[in-house]
Amino acid sequence: MRDYAELWEHAPSGHLLLDDDGLITAANATFTDWTGHTAAALVGTPFPKLLPIGDRVLYTTHSLPQLMVSGRIAEASVQVVGPDGSRHPALLSATRVEGADGPETRVALVDAQQRRRYEEELLAARRRAEESEARISQAEAELAELVHHDELTGLLNRPGLLRALRGRLGAARTDRGDGAVPTVLFVDLDGFKTVNDALGHASGDELLQVVARRIRCASRASADVARFAGDEFVVLDDVTTSGAARVAERLLDLLAEPVVLQGVEVVVTGSVGICAADVPVAEPDATEIAELVLRRADHAMYRAKAQGTGRWTAHHPGDSDPGADRLLLLEQLRSAIREGELRVHYQPRQHLPTGRLSGVEALVRWQHPTRGLLQPAAFIAAAEQSGIIRELGAWVLTEAVEQAVRWDTAGGPAGLQTAVNLSARQLADPDLVPLVARTLARAGLPASRLVLEITETALMSDPDAALRSLQELKALGVLLAVDDFGTGFSSFTYLKRFPVDELQIDRSFVTGMTTDAGDHAIVASCVHLAHAMGLVAVAEGVETAAERDALRALGADQAQGYFFSRPVPAAEVLPG
């Protein structure tokens, strides 16, 4: 039989045998030669004693339990301490098996000089990577700061201000007892444009920088100061009502000091509007309220300016000024859209040669909970100025298109056209064309059954953008009408330029056409013009049989007005 003991003694790895108490029972020559320990000294020694303290803790807390539970450990990186204190990096593997005299742990230790160094380098690299990650996120934070500041003045910019305001609103849930609440002071310069025009942009910029410094000086250290836009500045601070007034006075005093630009002494004054956010604000509402508070401060500033330069006014809850009313109206309108208080009424349109129903114009109404049924005049202008018109317009469009399909289903007249009004803002909205396409597709209404009415004013406010939108709408197959023709620019040029299908003659001319020769002439030329350009001529506001007859005589194609029907709910358009 071969002497396996010899093989074991000089195996390539160091080997140790341990009993179940972790005491060394045998060590091979490879191990003793390598570490300098003697076999005699090793026997009876607890194995963890050969490890430096760190490895010992690790071995005891992690390797040993793993060995006991799973029966093995593979390649733990340890150091073996020699009798002289020298350390020998090693990879430790072990198995726990049933030996002749009970359980036995067989330990193999491989010299791992290289491996340990390699792992240490890798680890150092990992730690460096983590540090550089930390640096990157710091750089990102710095970038975020840049994004929130105005380059010219170093003050917060609009996004930065909104963030600060949202933060203060969100934090202002508990009354601190001193009456201080987040307050916006909206500062607008009077006469900035004059400086810019007279002395050039560089001087204008310099002026803004001077003003920025002065506003910073006039504000308390706790304030956030922003250049909101152009020559508009905002001071945001937690102050009391009287505190806000003091800040406003200080701001106006400092602004009134002359500034010397290019040797010219310039006096710029300002107007200040104040609005305090004195209601606790829930986190999700902070964004909306922030905008609201800024708008109110802005409106207060305009009221101040209206009284003369160098003044301030504060917004008071319940102010009956038009600005505040408008804001209240808008808030109610938002909720009206959500709560389903809007209605669409339809005014029938007659095909004049045959007297048959040719189409309807969809007109929005607001079933106001306290004020009753409101006409568009009561709310459309405010909606148009605020941007709510997009939401409102989309709702009306969807409702009207779906109603057209409902009439079809109910056996209404074939090819009945539905006309819907578009505002200037809607026309400028890049989402308009997709919205129209989506709405038609979803309802399943052919595009040619929809007429979109656009006023002259809307067309001319941004003719290039309007042209693009109209061309795309035209491509969908939708019909386009010019509304209120004759009241605006009445220009042939745009009639030629825009791809319109209908001309709607304004009611003011129609009403006078049977009594006033001039109005009659205008209506006549509108009809001729329309026909000359291949457009359908539609008359609005027909109230008498005489008007209808006169329009027929002029060859107008369609007409609508009280003479035929007032705008009515969908159910009354087609009786039965």
Binding site: T60, P65, G71, R72, V97
Partner: protein, 281 residues
Amino acid sequence: MDAAMRPTQVLPGPVAERLHVTSTGDPDGPVLLLAHGFGCDQGMWDGVLPHVSADHRVVRYDLMGYGRSDVSAWDPVRYSSLDAHAEDILAICAELDLHDVTLVAHSVSTMMALLAAVREPERFRQVFLVAASPYFLEDPADGYDGGFSAADMAEVAGALDSNYFTWAEAMAPVIMGTPDVPGNGARLTASFCRVDPDVARQLLVIMFTTDFRPLLPRVTTPTVIVQSRADALVPPSVGDHLRAHLTGSTLVQLEAVGHCPHISAPEETAAAIRAHLLPRR
């Protein structure tokens, strides 16, 4: 049915899933909640299990970052103190509606167990502390000997880093069938023994830097201190310190050697626990 052969059930529920909570034994028996220490997972209690499961409902779990716990739920900030781990114990008790619990904890889990018992004393009947230490360092101020010097700390961190890659590899969920483990005969131990290196590092750092001695007088739950001989981490004097500062505690000295007597001498450890179990309140 032999209690040891009763199926081990992995329990449903968000906390149970996060910490891989399992239950076995007599469903109507008093609750024995086993909390494992450093190194592996709830499998560390396998040897003790057959000796307690016949007449106990035995609930086990994996420490956050260990075994089959959901390491994605590990938040280094939240887990930067043992409080989060103690909250895990309480969350298990709450989700499983466990009451009058006998909590058996090993090593690092002993301090989590005491934190939990101080938070919700009404929840626990008794706490067993196996190989416990409230403070690993020596304190020259009052002569306390935790076994380690401050200088040893740096070495421990270094050793952890050296094994980072070994551990990172061990994270792969490898089931190790070990029919050759002594005494296990036909039993197949499916052990994960997974350790997330970052978690392990943090837990060891907490243990070596936190002095839990002020916690001891606040414990009102009856405690049993189970100490083994020649524990590389816990000198005998630590057992005496615990005995002196835990009101109404009992100190049990085992013949077993090393930091993990429940693995190396499960019968003796189980017998010591059984001998000191309190009756139902």
